[in-house]
């Protein structure tokens, strides 16, 4: 399973109908479960590993993990977007626990917690 939403960290972006991870997935693979108020990767076998969901998550609640056939889970890679939105820092931990950080210039745009959908019959979104 390439990206995993950590249910302990995900707060469903409060009462957002379309949290950022749901909106930013280019394959429409993530959904929010309104019973648990948490998002999850519904169609895990269709994931492209492109990571917009992880970058857009305000709680940093989504973990990137290779499919097991690509290699064991002992390594990890997580991005962190700086407050100034001009830098992204990736933390890489290899299979031996060795940690490396990469700070890269970027220009990350703000992603709102929710968004009105064009053409929605009854636009009742509340954030």
């Amino acid at each position: 399973m390439p990206v995993i939403v950590d249910p302990d960290k995900c707060n469903g972006c409060h009462n957002s109908k379309q949290p950022p991870c749901v909106r930013m997935c280019p394959g429409d693979l993530i959904v929010k479960d309104f019973q648990t108020n948490k998002a999850y990767l519904k169609y895990f076998e269709d994931c492209w590993d492109c990571l917009p969901c992880i970058k857009a998550c305000p709680e940093e609640a989504i973990r990137f993990q290779l499919s097991y056939q690509m290699g064991f889970f002992s390594a990890s890679l997580q991005p962190h977007i700086h407050r100034d939105r001009q830098n992204i820092t990736w933390t890489l931990v290899d299979a031996h626990g060795h940690k490396e950080e990469f700070n890269i210039r970027t220009k990350v745009l703000e992603v709102a917690l929710d968004e009105r959908i064009e053409g929605e019959p009854t636009p009742d979104f509340s954030i």
Partner: protein, 588 residues
């Protein structure tokens, strides 16, 4: 989303001057250009995902791969691309996009894209035609510009068919993934910019990594399919793109080959491109040979093959990882998980499933210099447009801009074309059939089941990876026979929600594209692009008979695919099999 019922589907008709199908790289640039040059025109983008992160650019980008570095000209670019594509391209198209590289790159830089510069303030080159960027957020930057331009954006609307008014394209229809809505978009001009097609052949990986493809698995060739159904002429599908990529992760290798000058080596450490393909340019040979070479090494028992990075320093290794983080982060995690350090270990490579991508190769709509297709009122830009390989991100921008300028001019004093009601009803039926009507079928077929069936046929008979991309007349005939059975089974496709309805349309589109691809592969009786198009029964290149384009057109009523040939025109003088003089020596 719960299973929608027929009654719950609302219909929205939206009229616009110019409709853009696909809010990717070229679609967004087309929108901004129209609004800039013709602010009074209404522009509508229809995108099946969310424009902020949709299409090929979802993960980001680390270079602009087509740019005229100091000293280069549109003509020198044409010479190189012609060489790289084995002597056959639409030179008019390639030249016209090169003329807009500077304009489009400056534009996107102005929107905030960080481009790396060298000490003298020039853009930092990577190889002859690339410049380095920090493009992790390239797509949201472009999407914001499209939004700010005043274009109306419909996210999560999947376009299923074009609308026609007589012989003229008059818009398109689609359905929403988010609310139960069927859309009719009526337009004076339509620009299709849906990208290329992945998923026609068996993918490199299986199960939960089946979409660990290089090309976006969500670009299913919808734009080709809707054009084919509307009778638009397509060109050069047979120039499939078989990419040389890193093992398993399937990440682009230009970052290694151009970024740190890593040569190809086989398992014996031999630089086989230099020894066996020296006459074609060695490591700088045309791109098809850089896939063909390693395949032959593996066949001959000298695999696996690598891009040898072991000469680089630890600092360079770090830089390399940073370059991948901007474009393809999973490569870095793959190395970490598998104990691979490119400074110490050469990077293993493999070749991909064949894709149809008009931006790397030249399969796509047959267009004129203004990017008008053969259907009046319908334009094509980016990976969906044919004849102009080596587009990459900047060529896609240029094509969006060219289409926009002409479409904007064309619709100035035009009324909205009439669309008859019956046509919309037929499109509505086709759109929702898998959701409503096919439900009556007792044992349905899932979209994924049909996808696997299609991929199996294409893989085994039409030159998939496991066949070393080879094919002959007899196998192609079987491919045609079995692929031709699939449309008759579309009425067995059964889905329960809008997401799966999208998957159903994706596979139906892929089948249509696959059928046309087979006709192209059968028609070209030579081998022009080894590995992209390897005909074992016609193994040689044959300029005498085949220096021309293979085109197809599907008859709108009978559905029969007709093959046509279009002449090649040399506009830039010089040896077509020579890359042309380099104003600057290549870094070694």
């Amino acid at each position: 989303m719960e299973r929608p019922d027929q009654q719950s589907i609302q219909r929205i008709t939206h009229d616009t001057d110019i409709l853009i199908i696909g809010g990717g790289t070229s679609g967004c640039l087309a929108a901004t250009e129209i609004k800039e040059k013709y602010p009074h025109l209404s522009v509508t983008i229809v995108e099946k995902a969310h424009v902020d992160r949709s299409g090929c650019l979802a993960a980001g980008m680390n270079a602009i791969n087509a740019y005229l570095n100091p000293g280069e000209t549109p003509e020198s670019f044409v010479k190189y691309v012609r060489y790289d594509s084995c002597g056959l391209i639409r030179e008019d198209l390639v030249q016209s996009m090169a003329e807009l590289f500077e304009y489009s790159v400056k534009k996107v830089e102005g929107w905030g894209l960080p481009i790396l510069c060298d000490e003298s303030g020039n853009y930092a080159p990577r190889g002859r035609w690339n410049i380095k960027i920090n493009g992790e957020s390239l797509k949201p930057i472009i999407a914001k510009a499209a939004r700010d331009s005043g274009a109306k954006i419909h996210n999560w609307v999947v376009v299923t068919d074009l609308l026609m008014s007589g012989e003229r394209c008059a818009g398109a229809v689609g359905f929403s993934l988010r609310h139960n809505t069927f859309y009719t978009f009526r337009a004076k001009a339509t620009i299709v910019a849906t990208g290329g097609a992945a998923g026609l052949y068996k993918p490199n990986n299986a199960y939960d990594a089946q979409h660990k493809t290089w090309y976006s698995p969500f670009n299913n060739g919808a734009g080709y399919a809707m054009g084919i159904r509307a009778g638009a002429e397509m060109t050069s599908f047979e120039m499939r793109y078989v990419a040389l990529r890193t093992k398993d992760a399937i990440a682009p290798t230009g970052t290694l080959a151009l970024g740190v000058n890593a040569p190809l080596v086989n398992s014996k450490g031999e630089r086989f491109m230099q020894t066996r393909y020296a006459h074609l340019g060695g490591d700088g040979a045309p791109t098809p040979y850089r896939a063909y070479g390693p395949i032959q090494e593996v066949k001959a028992g000298r695999g696996p093959c690598y891009l040898d990075t072991t000469h680089i320093t630890d600092e360079q290794s770090r830089q390399l990882k940073m370059a991948y983080l901007d474009m393809y982060p999973s490569q870095v995690l793959y190395w970490a998980a598998n104990d691979i350090d490119p400074a110490r270990h050469p990077v293993e490579v493999q070749t991909t499933e064949p894709y149809i991508v008009g931006g790397h190769c030249q399969g796509g709509y047959w267009v004129d210099i203004d990017r008008q297709s053969t259907v009046p009122g319908l334009y094509a830009a980016g990976d969906v447009a044919g004849g102009a390989p080596f587009k990459f991100v900047s060529g896609c921008w240029a094509e969006g801009i060219l289409a926009a300028r002409h479409a904007g001019k064309e619709v100035q004093s035009m009324a909205l074309p009439e669309v008859d009601h019956l046509q919309v009803e037929t499109a509505y039926q086709r759109c929702f059939d898998p959701l409503f009507n096919h439900g009556k079928v007792k044992y349905g077929v899932k979209p994924y089941d049909m996808e696997v069936r299609m991929q199996k046929i294409m893989e085994e008979y039409a030159g998939g990876t496991s066949q070393n991309y080879e094919m002959n007349e007899e196998r192609l005939q079987l491919a045609r026979k079995y692929m031709d059975q699939l449309p008759g089974q579309f009425d067995q496709l059964v889905v329960a929600d809008m997401h799966d309805l999208m998957r159903a349309h994706e596979v139906m589109d892929r089948v249509v594209v696959g059928q046309v691809l087979i006709e192209h592969l059968m028609a070209r009786k030579e081998t022009r692009w080894p590995s992209y198009q390897t005909r074992t029964d016609y193994p040689e290149r044959d300029d005498l008979n085949w220096l021309k384009f293979v085109n197809t057109r599907r008859d709108r009523s009978s559905g029969k695919i007709e093959v046509l040939f279009r002449p090649y025109q040399q506009l830039v003088p010089g040896d077509r099999y020579h890359p042309g003089a380099k104003p600057h020596p290549k870094p070694n």
